[in-house]
Protein backbone atom coordinates (compact mmCIF):
# COMPACT_ATOMS: atom_id res chain seq x y z
CA UNK A 1 0.00 0.00 0.00
CA UNK A 2 1.32 3.47 -0.87
CA UNK A 3 1.78 5.98 1.92
CA UNK A 4 0.10 9.36 2.29
CA UNK A 5 1.50 12.39 4.14
CA UNK A 6 0.16 13.95 7.32
CA UNK A 7 0.81 17.67 6.90
CA UNK A 8 -0.92 19.01 9.97
CA UNK A 9 -2.61 17.98 13.21
CA UNK A 10 -4.86 19.79 15.67
CA UNK A 11 -6.85 19.06 18.80
CA UNK A 12 -9.34 20.73 21.06
CA UNK A 13 -8.36 19.82 24.64
CA UNK A 14 -10.35 16.94 26.18
CA UNK A 15 -12.63 17.77 29.09
CA UNK A 16 -16.24 17.89 30.14
CA UNK A 17 -16.88 21.29 28.65
CA UNK A 18 -20.57 20.78 27.87
CA UNK A 19 -20.44 22.88 24.72
CA UNK A 20 -21.50 22.26 21.12
CA UNK A 21 -19.29 19.56 19.58
CA UNK A 22 -18.95 21.66 16.42
CA UNK A 23 -16.78 24.11 18.36
CA UNK A 24 -14.34 21.36 19.26
CA UNK A 25 -14.13 20.09 15.69
CA UNK A 26 -13.74 23.56 14.22
CA UNK A 27 -10.97 24.48 16.64
CA UNK A 28 -9.13 21.22 15.91
CA UNK A 29 -9.56 21.72 12.14
CA UNK A 30 -8.27 25.31 12.22
CA UNK A 31 -5.25 24.22 14.24
CA UNK A 32 -4.53 21.38 11.81
CA UNK A 33 -4.74 23.76 8.83
CA UNK A 34 -2.42 26.24 10.54
CA UNK A 35 -0.01 23.45 11.47
CA UNK A 36 -0.05 22.24 7.84
CA UNK A 37 0.26 25.76 6.40
CA UNK A 38 -2.66 24.86 4.15
CA UNK A 39 -5.58 27.19 3.48
CA UNK A 40 -9.15 26.00 4.08
CA UNK A 41 -9.92 26.97 0.49
CA UNK A 42 -7.27 24.49 -0.69
CA UNK A 43 -8.95 21.49 1.01
CA UNK A 44 -10.60 19.34 -1.67
CA UNK A 45 -12.23 16.71 0.53
CA UNK A 46 -13.54 16.62 4.09
CA UNK A 47 -13.86 13.23 5.81
CA UNK A 48 -15.93 13.46 8.99
CA UNK A 49 -16.11 10.94 11.82
CA UNK A 50 -19.70 10.99 13.06
CA UNK A 51 -21.08 11.39 16.53
CA UNK A 52 -24.26 9.53 17.50
CA UNK A 53 -24.72 11.65 20.64
CA UNK A 54 -25.02 15.14 19.14
CA UNK A 55 -28.20 14.93 17.09
CA UNK A 56 -28.49 15.21 13.32
CA UNK A 57 -25.44 17.47 12.91
CA UNK A 58 -23.42 14.59 14.39
CA UNK A 59 -24.67 12.16 11.69
CA UNK A 60 -23.51 14.49 8.90
CA UNK A 61 -20.25 15.51 10.50
CA UNK A 62 -18.31 16.36 7.32
CA UNK A 63 -21.02 18.79 6.25
CA UNK A 64 -21.33 20.16 9.77
CA UNK A 65 -17.61 20.92 10.06
CA UNK A 66 -17.37 22.20 6.48
CA UNK A 67 -20.25 24.55 7.22
CA UNK A 68 -18.50 25.80 10.36
CA UNK A 69 -15.41 26.57 8.29
CA UNK A 70 -17.44 27.97 5.36
CA UNK A 71 -18.91 26.02 2.42
CA UNK A 72 -16.42 26.00 -0.45
CA UNK A 73 -17.93 23.27 -2.63
CA UNK A 74 -15.41 20.63 -1.58
CA UNK A 75 -16.33 16.93 -1.55
CA UNK A 76 -17.72 15.44 1.67
CA UNK A 77 -18.06 12.05 3.35
CA UNK A 78 -19.41 11.33 6.83
CA UNK A 79 -18.96 7.95 8.45
CA UNK A 80 -19.58 6.13 11.70
CA UNK A 81 -17.74 3.06 12.94
CA UNK A 82 -17.99 3.28 16.76
CA UNK A 83 -14.51 3.65 18.29
CA UNK A 84 -12.97 3.10 14.87
CA UNK A 85 -14.78 6.10 13.34
CA UNK A 86 -11.73 8.37 13.23
CA UNK A 87 -9.53 5.77 11.57
CA UNK A 88 -12.32 4.94 9.14
CA UNK A 89 -12.59 8.62 8.19
CA UNK A 90 -8.83 8.63 7.64
CA UNK A 91 -9.04 5.48 5.51
CA UNK A 92 -11.66 7.12 3.28
CA UNK A 93 -9.44 10.18 2.83
CA UNK A 94 -6.52 7.92 1.99
CA UNK A 95 -8.57 6.08 -0.63
CA UNK A 96 -9.60 9.38 -2.24
CA UNK A 97 -5.98 10.55 -2.31
CA UNK A 98 -4.44 7.31 -3.58
CA UNK A 99 -7.10 6.94 -6.27
CA UNK A 100 -6.35 10.46 -7.48
CA UNK A 101 -9.78 11.86 -6.68
CA UNK A 102 -8.18 14.52 -4.49
CA UNK A 103 -4.72 15.68 -3.43
CA UNK A 104 -5.35 17.12 0.00
CA UNK A 105 -8.05 16.36 2.59
CA UNK A 106 -9.20 17.28 6.06
CA UNK A 107 -10.18 14.55 8.56
CA UNK A 108 -12.21 15.69 11.58
CA UNK A 109 -14.02 14.13 14.53
CA UNK A 110 -15.54 15.68 17.66
CA UNK A 111 -18.05 14.85 20.34
CA UNK A 112 -19.83 16.26 23.36
CA UNK A 113 -20.73 13.41 25.74
CA UNK A 114 -23.34 12.98 28.49
CA UNK A 115 -22.24 12.10 32.03
CA UNK A 116 -22.04 8.49 33.16
CA UNK A 117 -22.39 5.17 31.36
CA UNK A 118 -22.94 5.19 27.63
CA UNK A 119 -26.53 4.02 27.06
CA UNK A 120 -28.24 2.47 24.03
CA UNK A 121 -30.71 4.33 21.85
CA UNK A 122 -34.21 4.80 23.23
CA UNK A 123 -37.14 2.54 22.38
CA UNK A 124 -38.02 -1.13 22.87
CA UNK A 125 -35.68 -2.93 20.52
CA UNK A 126 -35.69 -6.64 21.20
CA UNK A 127 -33.50 -7.42 18.19
CA UNK A 128 -30.75 -4.97 19.19
CA UNK A 129 -27.97 -6.65 21.22
CA UNK A 130 -27.05 -3.27 22.70
CA UNK A 131 -30.56 -2.87 24.10
CA UNK A 132 -30.80 -6.49 25.27
CA UNK A 133 -27.58 -6.44 27.27
CA UNK A 134 -28.68 -3.42 29.30
CA UNK A 135 -32.25 -4.57 29.80
CA UNK A 136 -31.73 -8.25 30.57
CA UNK A 137 -28.33 -8.32 32.25
CA UNK A 138 -27.47 -4.76 33.25
CA UNK A 139 -24.22 -5.26 31.35
CA UNK A 140 -22.57 -1.85 30.96
CA UNK A 141 -19.32 -1.30 29.06
CA UNK A 142 -17.29 -1.68 32.29
CA UNK A 143 -18.99 -5.07 32.81
CA UNK A 144 -17.18 -6.38 29.74
CA UNK A 145 -13.87 -4.68 30.66
CA UNK A 146 -14.07 -6.32 34.08
CA UNK A 147 -14.81 -9.77 32.63
CA UNK A 148 -11.63 -9.47 30.55
CA UNK A 149 -9.66 -8.22 33.58
CA UNK A 150 -10.82 -11.12 35.77
CA UNK A 151 -9.90 -13.51 32.99
CA UNK A 152 -6.33 -12.13 32.98
CA UNK A 153 -6.08 -12.67 36.74
CA UNK A 154 -7.20 -16.27 36.37
CA UNK A 155 -5.20 -17.21 33.29
CA UNK A 156 -1.99 -15.24 33.79
CA UNK A 157 -1.84 -14.37 37.48
CA UNK A 158 -2.17 -10.63 36.91
CA UNK A 159 -3.09 -8.74 40.07
CA UNK A 160 -5.12 -5.67 40.96
CA UNK A 161 -1.78 -4.00 41.68
CA UNK A 162 -0.69 -4.65 38.08
CA UNK A 163 -3.86 -3.02 36.78
CA UNK A 164 -3.39 -0.04 39.07
CA UNK A 165 0.20 0.29 37.86
CA UNK A 166 -1.06 0.82 34.29
CA UNK A 167 -3.14 3.77 35.46
CA UNK A 168 -0.22 5.16 37.49
CA UNK A 169 2.06 4.96 34.43
CA UNK A 170 -0.44 6.62 32.11
CA UNK A 171 -1.19 9.36 34.62
CA UNK A 172 2.54 10.16 34.73
CA UNK A 173 2.54 10.48 30.96
CA UNK A 174 -0.63 12.57 30.93
CA UNK A 175 0.93 15.18 33.22
CA UNK A 176 2.94 16.34 30.21
CA UNK A 177 0.03 16.54 27.78
CA UNK A 178 -1.71 19.93 27.43
CA UNK A 179 -4.65 18.30 25.61
CA UNK A 180 -5.32 15.69 28.30
CA UNK A 181 -8.37 15.99 30.57
CA UNK A 182 -6.70 14.47 33.65
CA UNK A 183 -3.21 15.74 34.40
CA UNK A 184 -2.94 14.62 38.00
CA UNK A 185 -0.33 12.01 38.80
CA UNK A 186 -2.01 9.15 40.68
CA UNK A 187 -0.35 6.60 42.93
CA UNK A 188 -1.44 3.05 43.65
CA UNK A 189 -3.23 4.10 46.85
CA UNK A 190 -5.36 6.65 45.01
CA UNK A 191 -6.60 3.87 42.78
CA UNK A 192 -7.12 1.36 45.59
CA UNK A 193 -9.16 3.98 47.43
CA UNK A 194 -11.40 4.83 44.48
CA UNK A 195 -14.83 3.13 44.45
CA UNK A 196 -15.26 -0.31 42.94
CA UNK A 197 -17.32 -0.08 39.72
CA UNK A 198 -17.08 -3.58 38.25
CA UNK A 199 -14.98 -5.95 40.31
CA UNK A 200 -11.93 -6.01 39.99
CA UNK A 201 -11.93 -2.58 38.31
CA UNK A 202 -12.18 0.65 40.25
CA UNK A 203 -13.37 4.06 39.14
CA UNK A 204 -9.91 5.43 38.36
CA UNK A 205 -9.18 2.42 36.16
CA UNK A 206 -12.14 2.87 33.84
CA UNK A 207 -12.11 5.26 30.92
CA UNK A 208 -14.38 8.30 31.37
CA UNK A 209 -16.58 9.77 28.64
CA UNK A 210 -15.17 13.10 27.47
CA UNK A 211 -15.69 16.05 25.16
CA UNK A 212 -12.98 16.66 22.58
CA UNK A 213 -12.09 17.18 18.96
CA UNK A 214 -9.19 16.20 16.70
CA UNK A 215 -8.25 16.83 13.07
CA UNK A 216 -5.64 15.94 10.45
CA UNK A 217 -4.64 17.50 7.14
CA UNK A 218 -3.45 14.72 4.82
CA UNK A 219 -2.22 14.70 1.23
CA UNK A 220 -0.42 12.68 -1.39
CA UNK A 221 3.35 12.53 -1.03
CA UNK A 222 3.64 14.42 -4.36
CA UNK A 223 1.39 17.23 -3.16
CA UNK A 224 3.39 17.44 0.09
CA UNK A 225 6.63 17.65 -1.93
CA UNK A 226 5.14 20.41 -4.08
CA UNK A 227 4.73 22.38 -0.84
CA UNK A 228 8.34 21.76 0.09
CA UNK A 229 7.54 19.02 2.62
CA UNK A 230 9.99 16.28 1.72
CA UNK A 231 10.01 14.25 4.91
CA UNK A 232 6.46 14.23 6.27
CA UNK A 233 5.06 11.80 8.80
CA UNK A 234 3.42 9.11 6.69
CA UNK A 235 0.36 6.95 7.13
CA UNK A 236 1.81 3.54 6.21
CA UNK A 237 -1.02 1.23 7.22
CA UNK A 238 -4.65 1.38 8.26
CA UNK A 239 -6.66 -1.57 9.47
CA UNK A 240 -10.45 -1.49 9.77
CA UNK A 241 -11.07 -5.26 9.58
CA UNK A 242 -14.07 -7.12 10.92
CA UNK A 243 -13.65 -9.95 13.42
CA UNK A 244 -12.95 -13.36 11.93
CA UNK A 245 -15.31 -16.14 12.90
CA UNK A 246 -15.06 -17.74 15.40
CA UNK A 247 -13.92 -15.15 17.93
CA UNK A 248 -13.95 -16.85 21.31
CA UNK A 249 -13.99 -13.61 23.30
CA UNK A 250 -17.38 -12.19 24.20
CA UNK A 251 -17.44 -8.77 22.57
CA UNK A 252 -19.40 -5.61 23.32
CA UNK A 253 -22.42 -5.47 23.13
CA UNK A 254 -23.32 -9.13 22.57
CA UNK A 255 -24.96 -11.49 25.05
CA UNK A 256 -22.86 -14.41 23.84
CA UNK A 257 -19.53 -15.14 22.16
CA UNK A 258 -19.23 -16.98 18.88
CA UNK A 259 -19.36 -20.72 19.27
CA UNK A 260 -16.18 -22.44 18.35
CA UNK A 261 -17.74 -25.88 18.57
CA UNK A 262 -17.69 -26.20 14.80
CA UNK A 263 -14.58 -24.25 13.92
CA UNK A 264 -12.16 -25.22 16.63
CA UNK A 265 -9.43 -22.64 17.10
CA UNK A 266 -9.58 -20.15 19.95
CA UNK A 267 -6.17 -18.55 19.68
CA UNK A 268 -6.83 -15.72 17.20
CA UNK A 269 -9.13 -13.03 18.52
CA UNK A 270 -10.51 -9.84 17.03
CA UNK A 271 -7.80 -7.73 18.63
CA UNK A 272 -5.09 -9.88 16.99
CA UNK A 273 -6.76 -9.49 13.60
CA UNK A 274 -6.87 -5.70 13.83
CA UNK A 275 -3.13 -5.41 14.48
CA UNK A 276 -2.16 -8.07 11.95
CA UNK A 277 -3.73 -6.19 9.05
CA UNK A 278 -2.02 -2.91 9.96
CA UNK A 279 1.39 -4.59 10.22
CA UNK A 280 0.84 -6.28 6.88
CA UNK A 281 -0.13 -3.08 5.08
CA UNK A 282 2.77 -1.13 6.52
CA UNK A 283 5.32 -3.95 6.05
CA UNK A 284 6.28 -3.39 9.66
CA UNK A 285 6.65 -5.89 12.50
CA UNK A 286 6.22 -5.44 16.26
CA UNK A 287 10.01 -5.23 16.75
CA UNK A 288 10.07 -2.12 14.54
CA UNK A 289 7.76 -0.12 16.81
CA UNK A 290 9.20 2.73 18.89
CA UNK A 291 5.94 3.33 20.78
CA UNK A 292 2.24 2.51 20.67
CA UNK A 293 -1.00 4.32 21.47
CA UNK A 294 -3.53 1.70 22.57
CA UNK A 295 -7.13 1.94 23.72
CA UNK A 296 -6.93 1.57 27.51
CA UNK A 297 -10.70 1.44 28.03
CA UNK A 298 -9.65 0.02 31.37
CA UNK A 299 -6.26 -0.36 33.02
CA UNK A 300 -6.31 -4.12 32.43
CA UNK A 301 -7.36 -3.63 28.81
CA UNK A 302 -4.01 -1.98 28.06
CA UNK A 303 -2.28 -5.22 29.07
CA UNK A 304 -4.39 -7.17 26.57
CA UNK A 305 -3.09 -4.92 23.83
CA UNK A 306 0.61 -5.60 24.64
CA UNK A 307 -0.07 -9.19 23.66
CA UNK A 308 -2.38 -8.57 20.71
CA UNK A 309 0.01 -6.12 19.04
CA UNK A 310 2.89 -8.52 19.55
CA UNK A 311 5.01 -6.74 22.15
CA UNK A 312 5.13 -10.02 24.09
CA UNK A 313 3.67 -13.51 24.23
CA UNK A 314 0.12 -14.08 25.49
CA UNK A 315 0.17 -13.78 29.27
CA UNK A 316 3.44 -11.87 29.58
CA UNK A 317 2.08 -8.30 29.49
CA UNK A 318 2.32 -7.70 33.23
CA UNK A 319 6.03 -8.66 33.10
CA UNK A 320 6.65 -5.92 30.54
CA UNK A 321 4.77 -3.45 32.69
CA UNK A 322 6.56 -4.44 35.90
CA UNK A 323 9.95 -4.12 34.14
CA UNK A 324 9.09 -0.55 33.16
CA UNK A 325 9.40 -1.43 29.47
CA UNK A 326 6.17 0.35 28.54
CA UNK A 327 6.77 3.56 30.52
CA UNK A 328 8.38 6.62 28.98
CA UNK A 329 12.11 5.93 28.93
CA UNK A 330 11.45 2.18 28.66
CA UNK A 331 12.05 -0.15 25.73
CA UNK A 332 8.65 0.38 24.07
CA UNK A 333 6.59 3.17 25.67
CA UNK A 334 2.84 2.58 25.49
CA UNK A 335 0.45 5.50 25.63
CA UNK A 336 3.02 8.29 25.89
CA UNK A 337 0.04 10.65 25.45
CA UNK A 338 -1.44 9.39 28.72
CA UNK A 339 -3.96 7.26 26.81
CA UNK A 340 -7.66 7.08 27.57
CA UNK A 341 -6.78 7.06 31.26
CA UNK A 342 -5.70 10.69 30.90
CA UNK A 343 -8.18 11.66 28.17
CA UNK A 344 -11.38 9.72 28.64
CA UNK A 345 -13.10 8.85 25.39
CA UNK A 346 -14.62 11.23 22.86
CA UNK A 347 -15.59 8.45 20.46
CA UNK A 348 -15.28 9.92 16.93
CA UNK A 349 -12.27 12.04 17.88
CA UNK A 350 -10.29 9.41 19.77
CA UNK A 351 -8.68 7.45 16.93
CA UNK A 352 -7.75 10.77 15.30
CA UNK A 353 -6.25 12.00 18.58
CA UNK A 354 -4.12 8.85 18.65
CA UNK A 355 -2.79 9.78 15.20
CA UNK A 356 -2.12 13.36 16.37
CA UNK A 357 0.07 11.95 19.15
CA UNK A 358 1.93 9.76 16.67
CA UNK A 359 2.64 12.79 14.50
CA UNK A 360 3.99 14.84 17.41
CA UNK A 361 6.15 11.92 18.49
CA UNK A 362 7.52 11.24 15.01
CA UNK A 363 8.30 14.92 14.48
CA UNK A 364 10.08 15.11 17.84
CA UNK A 365 7.60 17.73 19.08
CA UNK A 366 6.15 15.85 22.06
CA UNK A 367 8.07 17.80 24.72
CA UNK A 368 8.50 16.04 28.07
CA UNK A 369 6.63 12.98 26.81
CA UNK A 370 8.89 12.56 23.76
CA UNK A 371 10.00 9.02 22.86
CA UNK A 372 13.57 9.67 21.77
CA UNK A 373 14.31 9.00 18.13
CA UNK A 374 10.83 7.64 17.35
CA UNK A 375 10.46 6.51 13.73
CA UNK A 376 7.54 4.06 13.80
CA UNK A 377 4.35 4.24 15.86
CA UNK A 378 1.18 2.18 16.02
CA UNK A 379 -2.26 3.18 17.29
CA UNK A 380 -5.05 0.71 17.87
CA UNK A 381 -8.59 0.59 19.19
CA UNK A 382 -11.55 -1.66 19.44
CA UNK A 383 -15.21 -0.79 19.65
CA UNK A 384 -18.70 -2.15 19.62
CA UNK A 385 -20.33 -4.46 17.07
CA UNK A 386 -17.07 -5.60 15.49
CA UNK A 387 -15.58 -2.25 14.58
CA UNK A 388 -11.94 -1.74 15.42
CA UNK A 389 -8.99 -0.03 13.82
CA UNK A 390 -5.26 0.43 13.81
CA UNK A 391 -3.01 3.01 12.13
CA UNK A 392 0.74 2.76 11.62
CA UNK A 393 2.69 5.97 11.07
CA UNK A 394 6.33 6.16 9.99
CA UNK A 395 8.90 8.80 9.25
Amino acid sequence: MDDIAILGVGMHPWGKWGRNFVEYGEKAARDALTDAEVGWDEIQFVSGANSVRCGYPGYVSASTFANALGFTGCQLASSYAACASGATALSIARAQILSGVCDVALVVGAESTPKGFFAPNAGERHEDPDWLRFHLVGATNPTYFALYARRRMELYGDTSEDFAAVKVKNSRHGVFNPNARYTKEYDVDDIANSPMVADPLRLLEICATSDGGAALVVSSLEWAASRGVDNPVRVSGISTVSPTYPNSVIELPYLASDSWAAAGDETMTFKDNIAARAYEEASVSPEDLDFAEVYDLSSAYELDWYEHIGLCERGDAAKLLRAGDTALGGRIPVNPSGGLGAFGEAVPAQAIAQVCEMVWQLRGEAGHRQVEGAKVGLSINHGMFGHGSSVICTR
Binding site: G116, A139, T143, E154, A256, A261
Partner: protein, 145 residues
Protein backbone atom coordinates in the same frame (compact mmCIF):
# COMPACT_ATOMS: atom_id res chain seq x y z
CA UNK B 1 -43.91 -13.44 31.84
CA UNK B 2 -40.59 -13.33 30.00
CA UNK B 3 -38.95 -9.88 30.02
CA UNK B 4 -38.25 -10.51 26.33
CA UNK B 5 -40.02 -13.32 24.46
CA UNK B 6 -38.25 -15.99 22.47
CA UNK B 7 -34.85 -16.05 24.18
CA UNK B 8 -35.47 -18.71 26.83
CA UNK B 9 -38.04 -21.24 27.97
CA UNK B 10 -40.00 -20.73 31.17
CA UNK B 11 -39.83 -24.36 32.30
CA UNK B 12 -39.29 -23.91 36.03
CA UNK B 13 -37.34 -27.16 36.51
CA UNK B 14 -35.27 -27.25 33.36
CA UNK B 15 -35.19 -23.76 31.84
CA UNK B 16 -33.13 -23.43 28.65
CA UNK B 17 -31.84 -20.67 26.41
CA UNK B 18 -33.25 -20.74 22.89
CA UNK B 19 -30.45 -20.51 20.34
CA UNK B 20 -29.80 -21.24 16.70
CA UNK B 21 -27.78 -24.02 15.12
CA UNK B 22 -26.56 -24.19 11.55
CA UNK B 23 -27.84 -27.59 10.45
CA UNK B 24 -24.91 -28.84 8.39
CA UNK B 25 -22.07 -26.77 9.83
CA UNK B 26 -23.05 -27.38 13.46
CA UNK B 27 -22.21 -23.94 14.83
CA UNK B 28 -24.42 -22.38 17.50
CA UNK B 29 -25.71 -18.84 18.04
CA UNK B 30 -27.39 -16.93 20.83
CA UNK B 31 -29.80 -15.31 20.28
CA UNK B 32 -30.88 -17.18 17.17
CA UNK B 33 -31.30 -13.86 15.35
CA UNK B 34 -27.51 -13.40 15.38
CA UNK B 35 -26.96 -16.49 13.23
CA UNK B 36 -24.91 -15.51 10.24
CA UNK B 37 -21.66 -14.48 11.91
CA UNK B 38 -20.18 -17.78 10.70
CA UNK B 39 -19.46 -17.23 6.97
CA UNK B 40 -19.50 -20.98 6.37
CA UNK B 41 -23.20 -20.93 7.29
CA UNK B 42 -24.17 -18.94 4.22
CA UNK B 43 -27.26 -20.64 2.88
CA UNK B 44 -27.24 -23.18 5.69
CA UNK B 45 -30.56 -23.77 7.41
CA UNK B 46 -30.63 -22.34 10.94
CA UNK B 47 -32.71 -24.49 13.25
CA UNK B 48 -33.98 -23.43 16.65
CA UNK B 49 -32.33 -25.41 19.45
CA UNK B 50 -32.38 -25.44 23.24
CA UNK B 51 -28.87 -24.78 24.55
CA UNK B 52 -27.12 -26.61 27.40
CA UNK B 53 -28.32 -25.71 30.88
CA UNK B 54 -24.88 -25.91 32.45
CA UNK B 55 -21.40 -24.72 31.76
CA UNK B 56 -18.10 -23.54 33.22
CA UNK B 57 -17.72 -20.08 34.69
CA UNK B 58 -15.56 -18.18 32.15
CA UNK B 59 -15.40 -14.91 34.07
CA UNK B 60 -17.47 -12.77 36.44
CA UNK B 61 -17.83 -9.26 37.78
CA UNK B 62 -20.17 -6.95 39.65
CA UNK B 63 -22.37 -3.99 38.77
CA UNK B 64 -21.84 -1.58 41.66
CA UNK B 65 -23.66 1.37 40.06
CA UNK B 66 -27.12 1.48 38.53
CA UNK B 67 -26.98 1.07 34.74
CA UNK B 68 -29.00 3.47 32.58
CA UNK B 69 -32.34 2.54 30.99
CA UNK B 70 -33.45 0.17 29.54
CA UNK B 71 -32.16 -1.48 32.73
CA UNK B 72 -35.03 -1.47 35.23
CA UNK B 73 -34.08 -1.22 38.88
CA UNK B 74 -35.99 -3.96 40.71
CA UNK B 75 -37.45 -2.71 43.98
CA UNK B 76 -37.17 0.74 45.47
CA UNK B 77 -33.42 1.12 45.61
CA UNK B 78 -30.59 -0.05 43.42
CA UNK B 79 -28.72 -3.05 44.78
CA UNK B 80 -25.36 -4.14 43.30
CA UNK B 81 -25.50 -7.41 41.38
CA UNK B 82 -23.10 -10.03 40.07
CA UNK B 83 -22.69 -10.85 36.36
CA UNK B 84 -21.31 -14.14 35.07
CA UNK B 85 -20.05 -15.24 31.67
CA UNK B 86 -20.52 -19.00 31.37
CA UNK B 87 -19.09 -21.25 28.68
CA UNK B 88 -21.80 -23.72 27.75
CA UNK B 89 -20.68 -27.30 28.00
CA UNK B 90 -21.68 -28.56 24.59
CA UNK B 91 -21.82 -25.50 22.36
CA UNK B 92 -18.63 -23.70 23.51
CA UNK B 93 -20.60 -20.50 23.58
CA UNK B 94 -19.91 -17.97 26.36
CA UNK B 95 -23.22 -16.49 27.57
CA UNK B 96 -23.72 -13.53 29.92
CA UNK B 97 -26.29 -13.37 32.67
CA UNK B 98 -26.82 -12.01 36.12
CA UNK B 99 -26.02 -14.33 39.01
CA UNK B 100 -28.83 -15.17 41.42
CA UNK B 101 -29.13 -13.05 44.54
CA UNK B 102 -27.20 -14.23 47.57
CA UNK B 103 -24.09 -15.27 45.61
CA UNK B 104 -21.15 -12.85 45.85
CA UNK B 105 -17.90 -12.72 43.89
CA UNK B 106 -16.18 -14.36 46.88
CA UNK B 107 -18.29 -17.44 46.23
CA UNK B 108 -17.19 -17.68 42.58
CA UNK B 109 -14.09 -18.92 40.80
CA UNK B 110 -13.33 -19.36 37.14
CA UNK B 111 -13.99 -22.89 35.98
CA UNK B 112 -16.74 -23.72 38.48
CA UNK B 113 -19.91 -25.40 37.28
CA UNK B 114 -22.88 -23.07 36.77
CA UNK B 115 -26.49 -23.77 35.85
CA UNK B 116 -29.28 -21.77 34.31
CA UNK B 117 -32.29 -20.77 36.42
CA UNK B 118 -35.27 -18.52 35.82
CA UNK B 119 -35.61 -15.57 38.16
CA UNK B 120 -37.42 -12.27 38.45
CA UNK B 121 -35.68 -9.39 36.68
CA UNK B 122 -38.17 -6.74 37.85
CA UNK B 123 -41.87 -6.46 38.63
CA UNK B 124 -44.71 -4.02 38.16
CA UNK B 125 -48.25 -4.12 39.52
CA UNK B 126 -49.37 -6.64 36.92
CA UNK B 127 -46.45 -8.96 36.27
CA UNK B 128 -43.16 -10.40 37.34
CA UNK B 129 -40.82 -10.03 34.37
CA UNK B 130 -38.58 -13.08 34.17
CA UNK B 131 -35.07 -13.64 32.85
CA UNK B 132 -32.40 -16.35 32.90
CA UNK B 133 -29.74 -16.10 35.57
CA UNK B 134 -26.73 -18.18 36.49
CA UNK B 135 -26.34 -20.05 39.77
CA UNK B 136 -23.48 -22.23 41.02
CA UNK B 137 -24.58 -25.85 40.59
CA UNK B 138 -26.21 -27.06 43.78
CA UNK B 139 -27.42 -23.62 44.77
CA UNK B 140 -31.12 -23.04 44.91
CA UNK B 141 -32.71 -20.05 43.22
CA UNK B 142 -32.66 -17.86 46.30
CA UNK B 143 -28.96 -18.46 46.79
CA UNK B 144 -29.23 -20.73 49.83
CA UNK B 145 -27.10 -23.88 49.78
Amino acid sequence: MAAVEGLFTLDSDEPRLIGGRARSRGSYFFPKSLAGSDPACLGDEIEEVLLSRTGELWSYTTGEYAPPAPYVIPGDEFEPYVVAAVRLAEENLVVLGQVVEGVSVEDLSVGMEMELVIDVLYSDEEHDYLVWKWAPVGTSENGEQ
